[in-house]
Subunit: 361 residues, 2 copies
């Protein structure tokens, strides 16, 4: 019997999340049952996408205009019977432990495939210890990398960059690639893959330190969106011949700028829109959406959950690139499960630099 | 020497076009020069896309916000050196005759491939007579259809519907298809192709007469957007299980409704956004654009000019469908070149019903 702590959702998120939305609970973890493995987590990840699963309902829906019926209600009714309407994975339940990616070490095992000391990857984040059926764990092949890399550059965020760029946007030789949030866990990998494939790359980031890092990883033109008041002008200056690929992590003005700068047949991999996640009002949409028609653009959203079968291929390629010094990364590490909620909050304030991680041991 | 009339652009369009933007001129058409063919036009087409070529500059570009630089200027500067930035084909020149699709009859020919009486298809619309090099004309194979069908259901608008639905959206068995402007030249064909491929089809149109026609051509659920104040609610009621394909002709609220009702992996063929063409202010964009990410949607714009090589395959298939009574169409016919400008204006007031044509002889 182990005593350990875990983080539960205390209340659903509305607008900018706060530490009050979370609750730290001490629980008892019994010995593993038959077929179970007992794991002590070493690292857990916090990622922007988790915001959606903590929200009460779809953040974005067309709402009423003056003199019109309230359509949000209708959307809600549909959504109740069809959760895919929201476009989110099922919501976390208030009072239950949260989940997310984690790297842990086996402490005890009732399954022959795992033995104490093994490193395992799982979705049982937000807790210090857990028991789980062996089938829900994956033994970690580290390829000589630090284990927490598999929560970032060589894990889901890295796979997201790799899939979004190479499988969704599919750059052609000579394409100019624009990546927003270019210092982030996903964006920085997208930039480096685009560079090693020979592309001219433009990245946006907020603040001098992040921009310096983006420049350091080889990005050709860096836009500090906190300094450049007009992102469209900045992008057009950085890409006078236009952009052919946009890796979208931010939304809002970034999307408008990319639409304005897009060349004909440009492809947008729509990965995230972090600038919009905490809106309580309907945001304004991209006013130049008509360029999708006029310039024969393709905007394609994707959910990395549908591409997890590519993880082995990706990890083999990515670990090679890392060992060849073609890809590097940054981490912001907070310590202790009690600090996981505030680590999560940093994502929405731009206070993380690269991959945001929580070290649990 | 023939005396004939033609329509020239008198001034560039700003906002809703008016008859004053056009000029009717009488010209002399000499005998055909060596290698030329002399044609009397029987029919000419007016289409919404022509609006873009009559405008002064890109209608849509991100503009300044309070406290920000004016980015529209920067976009203009770029666009001057790169016309693809606008996403429009080259603009018509003020004082020059307009162009567009036409069906004519050969009156005289200095080329052995054409003889008097031959029906020809050309881009020399907006004029009663013309001489042109033989290579710029195409002899019309009518497949037993009335010649003006090749300006509509069996011509560019029909090809647009066929390409947008089958090559861009690519419906899968069981997909629910939503088509806006479903009584129009493009929309009505898209609806009928979707029906003959076995799909559940929802169409929107404005007014009882157009909606009755849409119902007549087999569409399962018709939304009268002039009656239904909240298009999103109306669409969700018509498609309680969501839509999988959206054929976009209208933009604005229609696009928001389609984003709200879209199922995961839905595909949007972005063909037109006629509700936005005459805006002089930046329109509001789709406020729920984040669904592109959340529901893994694909929005793809296309320009039929890039698919003209598919015309023969399309015309063979379409003429078969028409002879099998699987596809029908409506026409609004105005008479005389002097009425071509007002026929064009009707497109933006919804005063046409089906394909808008001008009969020149």
């Amino acid at each position: 019997m182990i005593t350990a702590r875990e983080v539960r959702l205390k209340s659903r998120l509305v607008g900018m999340p706060s530490a009050d939305n979370f609750e730290l609970i001490t629980v008892s973890v019994p010995d593993p049952a038959p077929g179970e493995v007992q794991v002590q987590n070493l690292w857990m990840t916090v990622d922007p996408y988790m915001r959606g699963r903590m929200a009460d309902r779809a953040i974005y829906s067309p709402s009423s205009r003056p003199g019109k019926e309230v359509s949000a209600r209708a959307i809600g009714e549909i959504a109740a019977s069809n959760s895919t309407m929201y476009g989110w994975r099922p919501g976390f339940k208030v009072g239950e432990v949260l989940e997310g990616g984690a790297i842990g070490q086996v402490a005890a095992s009732d399954d022959p495939r795992f033995k104490p000391g093994d490193l395992v990857s799982s979705w049982f984040g937000w807790r210090e210890w857990f028991n789980a059926p062996a089938a829900s764990l994956q033994k970690l092949a580290t390829f000589g990398l630090p284990p927490q890399a598999f929560l970032g550059v060589a894990g889901m965020p890295g796979l997201t960059a790799w899939v979004g760029l190479l499988k969704i946007a599919v750059p052609k030789p000579g394409d100019v690639v624009f990546v927003s949030a270019a210092s982030g866990a996903v964006g920085s990998v997208a930039c480096q893959i685009a560079k090693l494939k020979g592309h001219t790359v433009i990245g946006s980031a907020g603040g001098a330190a992040k921009c310096a890092f983006v420049k350091d990883i080889g990005v050709d033109h860096v836009i500090d969106y906190k300094v450049r008041a007009d992102l469209t002008s900045a992008l057009l200056q950085a890409a006078p011949m236009g952009i052919d690929v946009y890796f979208e992590n931010v939304g809002g003005e970034h999307l408008e700028a990319a639409l304005a700068a897009a060349n004909r047949f440009a492809r947008f991999a729509i990965c995230g829109m972090i600038s919009q996640y905490n809106s309580t009002e309907l945001p304004s949409g991209p006013r130049n959406i008509m360029f999708v028609m006029g310039k024969s653009l393709r905007l394609e959203g994707f959910d990395i959950a549908n591409y997890l079968d590519l993880m082995p291929e990706f990890q083999k390629e990515m670990s090679t690139w890392i060992h060849e010094s073609k890809v590097t990364w940054r981490e912001t590490i907070d310590h202790g499960i009690e600090n996981a909620p505030t680590a999560f909050l940093k994502l929405f304030k731009g206070e993380n630099f690269g991959k945001m991680l929580v070290k649990l041991r």
